[in-house]
């Protein structure tokens, strides 16, 4: 068959080439990628006043991640955002994560990408898989590539293999695993760190199977995750334990630090957390003590120095005439040649358009000279004449 032959020839070529050009073949499976940038997707899945602590959790992590260098354009923040301006809030437009009220998380430069009722399971899945409507703006898309490390943080109410979204929907563990699998197939990340702060959080990543994924949950199956303390001024709990101790770890760091992920994971004490923080590293290739936290929580830019400028282009000869030193002869030659070139160019273009323009000019001349009335009369007459001829022929 015709379609078989090219592939057969290709097979022979392959064998022949393999004998001679082994060093030149780049096998498609080893097209490894370098780490270029970091992204963060921070999701708060609760709404209503009594879930204040979940929004405070997410905003605290947002602030940490920004402080360590990830810019707003690489953070997707999904919040119900009904705390700061809630009528029950004693401190309007302020959100705190500690009862000492030292840090206002809602201060300045908080860019929320999905707020209110836009935080749905469908939008979350669309963000992860990248399947948006074409009209969705760039700031709402996860524009990661094969060199990105992504931090995915989720907090809210959860249970055995599910996470509750805004009191009306559920995200199941197999949905999350499916989304991550599709992301991996399309190479939308190099490495992914999932942090979940809910009850029975570790069950949410039971079904994960894609390589390059590291996951940590605040509690195991059958355990609850607890809040840290109650703020008597505000009247609700303001932060969860897992996030509180995570922030305590990061407050000591800055952009230049290279504390490792294993030190972060080892800093969680089951007694103070009142639950067991469980992390899953069987899908992750690199050993944890060698991975700095800034490879997920901070910003990394791989930089290469530009050693020389490219001199091929320069501004056109008419201005260059002032700068060229003594090469009088050549310089004159060039200037003299230039008008010739221009003329030639014009001639050529004239020739190209000649035929078409000639016709147009001809027609225009004709029309200009004759009277419009006359033309109309002639035309009408011709039409009537043709009509009579045709009716006579048909009759």
């Amino acid at each position: 068959m015709a379609t078989r032959d090219p592939s057969m020839i290709c097979c022979f070529r392959l064998l022949f080439l393999l004998l001679f050009s082994v060093p030149l073949i780049a096998s498609s499976s080893s097209w490894a990628s370098m780490h270029h940038n970091n992204w963060a997707v921070l999701v708060c899945t609760s709404r209503y006043w009594f879930n204040y602590r979940h929004m405070a959790n997410t905003l605290s992590l947002y602030r940490t991640v920004k402080r360590l260098g990830i810019p707003d354009e690489r953070i997707i923040l999904m919040l119900a955002d009904d705390m700061a301006c809630n009528m029950r809030n004693n401190y309007p437009a302020q959100v705190f994560n500690n009862e000492n009220h030292q840090l206002n998380l809602y201060g300045d430069n908080v860019e929320v990408d999905y707020r209110g009722y836009e935080v749905t399971v469908e939008n979350f899945m669309r963000v992860l898989t990248g399947r948006h409507d074409p009209a969705v703006p760039r700031s709402k898309r996860l524009l990661s590539d094969e060199g990105s490390h992504i931090l995915l943080y989720m907090t809210g109410h959860g249970g055995d293999e599910f996470l509750k979204f805004q009191d009306s929907e559920e995200l199941q563990s197999h949905d999350l695993a499916d989304a991550v699998k599709q992301m991996k197939e399309k190479n939308r990340f190099k490495e992914l760190l999932i942090m979940v702060d809910t009850c029975q959080a570790a069950t949410l990543f039971n079904q994960l199977q894609s390589p390059g994924v590291l996951a940590i949950g605040s509690s195991m199956k059958g355990e609850n995750s607890y809040s840290h303390h109650l703020d008597s001024d505000i009247g609700v709990s303001v932060v969860d334990r897992f996030t509180y101790y995570t922030l305590a770890f990061f407050e000591k760091l800055n952009m230049y630090s290279n504390a490792s992920l294993s030190s972060l994971f080892n800093s969680y004490n089951p007694r103070t957390l009142m639950s067991t923080a469980y992390y899953r590293m069987d899908l992750y290739q690199r050993p944890l003590p060698e991975v700095p936290v800034t490879s997920f929580f901070g910003s990394v830019m791989k930089t290469i120095h530009t050693d020389a400028a490219y001199m091929g282009l320069s501004i056109p000869p008419k201005t260059e005439a002032q700068f060229l030193p003594g090469d009088g002869g050549n310089h004159q030659l060039r200037i003299e040649n230039e008008p010739d070139l221009e003329k030639d160019g014009n001639k050529q273009t004239k020739e190209l358009h000649c035929i078409y323009h000639e016709w147009l000019n001809l027609l225009q001349e004709r029309f200009e000279n004759t009277d419009a009335e006359l033309l109309f009369r002639y035309g009408f007459g011709t039409m009537v004449f043709l009509l009579t001829i045709s009716t006579w022929l048909l009759a």
Partner: protein, 586 residues
């Protein structure tokens, strides 16, 4: 008693047999059966219709063609090289050296070129041949003017034939003569290179091999190096377009405020570049000027150079993403790639700001790039001492000379972002004396390398995308596949086949543009917003939806049918008993 709804015939005589039941005895029974079983039968009849009516629209996705294409594309890297044609023009007096070079055994590095089905034609011209004498003499005289020498080479013999068929011919001219400058190797801006001087045959072969392999085939990088980080130097978005966003940053406007006439300069300096790269990306350019944009990292004052110094170690932390709001693009669509090019004018307290390299030297360009992000140039204002007496900061427009220098560095950075070297500095290690620069920012052979590289990458990406789409679609049998997706897959496969054919013929630019189209269509098909697995239910979910409609009714109908069946059996038994009694009495 007869279960007959009507009058009961009571016989006068106790021993008189009952009257045989009249004919209608059968009829109500049949009627009852029909009425009872009617819904069951109807349900069974409509079941196949309901199955077809709830079937999902799934457009065909051409899985067989996809498998064929992926088999061919496994060897894509080799396929792309089959279109190369090399020409070797040997000019000289000495027949002996060159005729001995004709034997294959001498070729060394170039042996593989023959095995790859690249045609390497060898043309030997000696001086007695008058036909070529004029052109060769011109080459001799004007090797000092390398550009003009290159133009004189335009009449290379095989070139017209090969290029008529669409392929590309690379020529190396070896001119053997005594030269004061020793051996000079020059690589031109079209597809020629020449070697001038008195050289031994071994050196000639190794030089020719290096020119062909290292430069014409691999663009100056080591073999396989381009392929290793292959996605790293392909800054083209998923929809085949790139937005180059140029920003002039004034760190502290209270010291001075700079402005630039961007449009004119970009028309002169960037338009040829954009045109040269049209087959691989649809490039758009925009610019802005920003104020109050300090940098994050610190620098220290150096007495020796009387300037503020920052080192290579500070470069990753230079870009202050919190204050530099660079992502203000209005023309960038959702899936295009944005490359940021920044000119940073430091504040008076940090001026002049110079970059120190690890070997202690000060950088000549004062700039750096970050792959897949863009580049930064630190431009120090000419008069660093800010005049604090003025109430208003001076508003200065960058002069054309300054802008030209900045744009030359931008061109170098663009070259680096696309995977080539910024500029080939003369160095004795490479053995090449000079590389000619081109007006468009890329020489033709560099453009060929870029087209090949991008065609390779795009085809690979297209095939993997379509394969994962196929896997996804097959794993969700109940998902609706719109016709649009089927069409996009079909056109993508056609474009990919066209690209692969063109690459094997050597027409690299159309191969690159077809491969770009193939990749764009494959990405559009994969990222179609209707493919959301969460909306498409499994078979259990399907039953769960329809059960509440049918289960209660079906229950009743089934029970009624069973009751009727039992009743029918009972009455039939009675009837048979009656018939047998009647027969006995008769």
């Amino acid at each position: 008693m007869l279960a007959f709804h009507g009058k009961i015939a009571i016989s006068q005589h106790p021993r008189e047999p009952f009257l045989p039941p009249p004919l209608p005895f059968r009829y109500p029974w049949t009627m009852r059966r029909i009425i009872t079983l009617d819904p069951d039968v109807k349900f069974m009849c409509t079941l196949p219709f309901s199955w077809t009516m709830t079937e999902k629209l799934r457009s065909k996705l051409l899985f067989e063609e996809l498998v064929l294409l992926s088999d061919i594309c496994l060897s894509i890297y080799e396929v792309i090289f089959t279109g190369l044609q090399g020409t070797l023009l040997l000019v000289g007096d000495d027949n002996i050296i060159f005729s001995s070079l004709m034997g294959i055994g001498k070729w060394g590095d170039l042996k593989f070129l023959n095995s790859m089905e690249t045609t390497l034609s060898l043309y030997y011209i000696s001086f007695p041949s008058t036909a070529r004498r004029r052109s060769i003499k011109r080459v001799h005289r004007e090797t000092s003017g390398d550009e003009r020498g290159e133009d004189a080479l335009g009449g290379a013999p095989a070139k017209e034939c090969a290029e008529a068929s669409g392929g590309r011919v690379y020529t190396v001219v070896v001119v053997e003569r005594e030269d004061d400058l020793g051996v000079r190797v020059v690589v031109g801006k079209h597809r020629h290179a020449w070697i001038v001087g008195k050289i031994s045959e071994n050196d000639v072969v190794s030089l020719i091999g290096k020119v062909f392999v290292k430069y014409f085939m691999n663009g100056g990088k080591k073999v396989g190096e381009l392929a290793k980080g292959i996605g790293e130097f392909v800054p083209v978005g998923a929809d085949g377009s790139v937005v180059l966003s140029f920003s002039l940053l004034n760190a502290d406007p209270s010291d001075w405020v700079y402005d630039w006439k961007f449009k004119e300069m970009s028309n002169i300096m960037l338009t040829p570049f954009v045109k040269a790269l049209t087959p691989i990306a649809n490039i758009s350019i925009e610019s802005q000027v920003l104020y109050h944009t300090p940098k994050l990292s610190q620098s220290y004052w150096d007495e020796k150079s009387s300037s503020h110094i920052f080192s290579i170690r500070d470069l990753p932390f230079f870009v202050n993403s919190n204050e530099w709001h660079l992502d203000t693009s209005i023309i960038a669509a959702g899936r295009s790639k944005v490359l940021q090019f920044v000119v940073y004018a430091p504040s008076a307290s940090e001026c002049p700001l110079l970059l120190q390299l690890p070997n202690g030297e000060i950088s000549m360009t004062n700039s750096f790039i970050s792959p897949m992000w863009g580049g930064v140039i630190i431009w120090n204002p000419p008069h660093c001492a800010g005049d604090s007496h003025n109430t208003l900061p001076p508003q200065v427009r960058l002069s054309p000379i300054e802008l030209q220098k900045i744009f030359q560095v931008f061109l170098a950075q663009l070259r680096m972002l696309f995977g080539l070297k910024s500029n080939y500095i003369d160095s004795s290690e490479t053995g090449i004396s000079k590389f000619l620069d081109s007006e468009s920012g890329f020489t033709e052979w560099e453009l060929d390398v870029l087209y090949r590289h991008h065609a390779c990458f795009n085809l690979h990406s297209c095939v993997t995308t379509l394969e994962s789409l196929a896997k996804l679609v097959q794993s969700l049998p109940r998902m609706i596949i719109m016709d649009e997706i089927g069409k996009q897959v079909k056109f993508s496969l056609e474009a990919a086949n066209l690209a692969q054919r063109n690459a094997s013929l050597g027409i690299y630019d159309s191969s690159a543009s077809s491969s770009r189209q193939a990749k764009v269509l494959a990405e559009d098909a994969f990222f179609h917003p209707s493919i959301m697995s969460i909306s498409y239910s499994s078979i259990e979910h399907y039953f769960a939806i329809y059960m509440p409609f049918f289960a209660p009714v079906a229950l009743h109908v089934l029970l009624a049918a069973i009751k009727e069946l039992k009743r029918y059996k009972r009455e039939r038994a009675k009837y048979l008993a009656f018939i047998s009694e009647k027969a006995k009495m008769d």
